[in-house]
Point group: C2
Chain length 344, copies 2
Amino acid sequence: MEIEYIYLCVQAVDEKKGCNYLMNTWNIFGEISSDLQLVEKELQEAVKGPIPVLEEASSHLLAAGGKRLRPAFALISGKFSNYDLKKMIPLAVALELIHMASLVHDDVIDASSTRRGLPTVRAKWGNRMSMHAGDHIFARSLQLIHSIGNREISGILATTSVKMCEGEIQQILTAFDIRQTIKDYFYRIERKTALLIAASCRCGALAAGAERAVVRALGRFGHYIGMAFQITDDILDLTADQKKLGKPIGGDIRQGIMTLPMIFALRYYGENSRLAEILAAREKGEKEIKEAIQLISAAGAIEKTREISRRFVEKGLRELAILPVNPTRDLLEKLAHFINRRNY
Amino acid sequence: MEIEYIYLCVQAVDEKKGCNYLMNTWNIFGEISSDLQLVEKELQEAVKGPIPVLEEASSHLLAAGGKRLRPAFALISGKFSNYDLKKMIPLAVALELIHMASLVHDDVIDASSTRRGLPTVRAKWGNRMSMHAGDHIFARSLQLIHSIGNREISGILATTSVKMCEGEIQQILTAFDIRQTIKDYFYRIERKTALLIAASCRCGALAAGAERAVVRALGRFGHYIGMAFQITDDILDLTADQKKLGKPIGGDIRQGIMTLPMIFALRYYGENSRLAEILAAREKGEKEIKEAIQLISAAGAIEKTREISRRFVEKGLRELAILPVNPTRDLLEKLAHFINRRNY
């Protein structure tokens, strides 16, 4: 029911700014909704600084919204133990800042001009500002992580940051390479997405002083759900309504990022196929991108990919078995399903 | 004497790779020379990772050398208290990595194609790789800082990182703006350079468990010497032998960065002068850059700037008064003088 409601909200704010859409998304977050609003306020505070243009750039990025999934997972994970809002908020904010910083740098790299329906920092302020705005947002996250004062959390986030970079670099190195395996794809999306979501769950649990077994279970849940999240993202890049997605579809084909539906479809058509030709080409027009999407879809690759995403969600849900059956666990389960079924 | 020797060494390896030059520079570092060689080895380890191209890019950057001033200041600062090499090395390596990361991102931004006489990461691997290589190097520093396990150190370095970004952004925002004051210039170079050198001294002292007063004195020493270092750098950008400097001179004029000699010269000639016209122009040829350098020099602005640098060194040296008179303090004093007198 709630998920349906969110879809309606998203459609209703389709033409509006991302922040409205964000406000409505919060309905899925149940018991942590009001705490997430506090996260939002603290995010605004966190990007304040002595340089107005920098603050404007970061606020602009915040206004573009996003699902605030990482803060949400951290807060919910904390709810299973001694949830202390004062400890949870800096963590939640830091996680979203790390994510934001990676998005800003991604935009510099990918030369994409819209993200979440709003012009990117790069398009509005140029590459140089984007680069340093990303660095600044990331550095601000370090101050927050420092303020938490939990060594295990800072260790997890340092290692996660290193691996996230490795994922980005791997993505560049393998661009337009049609000989990638499913394993290569999983390696990349783990680093690109799953690790930070897993870290959000683990750190959320740690900040609340959870037992080892709970930290581990939530970490694994986050890992699997993170994988499912990225796989769904990669499906949406091929199938979504451009307006709902907030950016042009087929972006991965344009940038040569081989996603799971492409890998499945390439297996179906072979390396000498028309699809292979389009995907490997560094320059291509909108007509060819459309053609590639049709070929991928006709090969049944989208459905096959959906199945993989479903399986990751199931694996994730199984990790919750050791947790008590309560509304917080229900909320986590709902979020896991939402991630798989969303259409934006 | 030692300083003279270094100059000779530098000239001797003029045509060779930076690493040779680096080896010879170590002679100035006296009692910490062998520990600095260990830092060098650990730096190599720190940039290792699962992606060969990334490792190659980072090793390339390491081979280009650099003065390793930040590690040196950290180690020497530790020598006044309970110097424990195991604690000092990760800090020294982390400091150099933070510095390296900022250089890599600077290259992306500045579109400079040589740094320290070798092609930059950007020129060799492209902007996308540079950006993520910089992020990766910075994230590796976080792992090392984490391993030190000293909250005060991680706090200082987080705040320093935030402010360093603000300095970079301020530099972009004020590019080609001839109405800058000396105060604006000091604001920028403090963030760009002095803060990390001050942090190196403070953290080095903290890692060795120094008393508050010693930490503070060394921090202030680092601040003043860092200011002098950047001022000297800005002089060298106008006056150095291109081969010795390892990059084309006049880079700041090209990029519109208003340095102290320019600010002094602009005061002398006025806002409607030929110099003002060249400095404010976003596009300019080599001929105009040469003309600007001659004008700056003829105004006596280089000498005036040298005087400011000298004064910062003096202020720095005064901070050492509370430290015991011993070979370590002599070494710090020597380094301070070297910074001011170097010609590369």
